[in-house]
Symmetry: C2
Subunit: 165 residues, 2 copies
Amino acid sequence: MEDEVDRLVAAWRRERPDLDVEPLEVLSRVSRLARHLDRARRTAFAEHGLEPWEFDVLTALRRAGSPYQLSPGQLLTQTLVTSGTMTNRIDRLTGKGLVKRLPDPDDRRGVLVRLTDDGRDRADQALAGLLAHERELLAQLTSGQQTELAALLRQLVAPFDNIPG
Amino acid sequence: MEDEVDRLVAAWRRERPDLDVEPLEVLSRVSRLARHLDRARRTAFAEHGLEPWEFDVLTALRRAGSPYQLSPGQLLTQTLVTSGTMTNRIDRLTGKGLVKRLPDPDDRRGVLVRLTDDGRDRADQALAGLLAHERELLAQLTSGQQTELAALLRQLVAPFDNIPG
DNA sequence: TCGAGATATCTTGATGTCGAGATACCTGCG
DNA sequence: CGCAGGTATCTCGACATCAAGATATCTCGA
């Protein structure tokens, strides 16, 4: 089965036969797939009344375990957004009653963001919905292929995640 | 080598041992890697005075081959953005002298967007820079692994690219 | 103890994107 | 021929994001 990147690569080979465009076979597919996933997720979360960015923040807190709280800084590293964006997100989630800000008892510069009961329920529901949806997409691959794909992707992501950049 | 998704998955298994979170091993890595790639690309293109979105549009036209022109609609399907966004992009690229709008001789509703000579040169330069940069990232994998990764990703993207969604 | 530099968060202004609707034009059926 | 429905592009308002800078606080060596 051909995809848009096959067409893209073929076009480059025709227009710029002097270049080695092999890297695009992997990385353009990653970018395009991510774009498609974003759209699919937006649809999936809409059933639960959540935006993708809300899901990202709520689930980061949910994963932290009881009492479901993290600093804005910890949320930054998990969600790959800037601090200004996170401040804005926390403001809006607070307005919707899904999280609340608490002063950090150990650092007066700091703040802790804690999930409310309602926020935790919404996160749990949306996660279940997301997993169901993602399982369908992955039905294209055997279980073994999924494992292999995950391993290859890990090798590419690891440098970014471990060397701060 | 561990990555952020390993930690994420471990956290879910601890907090929600009742759920099968296997799909995240693949799809969360795709999303996070794409996010990192976006940032890296922004840096790479800055050397050529281009934004990532400018690169996307210019190279779509460049790939089309002489006379380097496409309709806004064709550009939409290649770049996965909405029509309002594309209108805006074409406006700005026109302002920078990198593309120009021409009336479509066969359809008076239509427009053709054509690359200027300057636009073509900028696209070519930026592409070379991007490929050099991407080759470094992929040095983590053997040539065989890259081929395999590309094939697995193709299976996931193809349904999106071929069944309109 | 004091001060320099690091750190945590928030503020601000600019900008790009989306989504829905508007407009103009095309196509094909009756 | 005329009209209904489809298509191509643009307009507009709302909104999320980013980058850079501001503020408050912490840390640690002299």
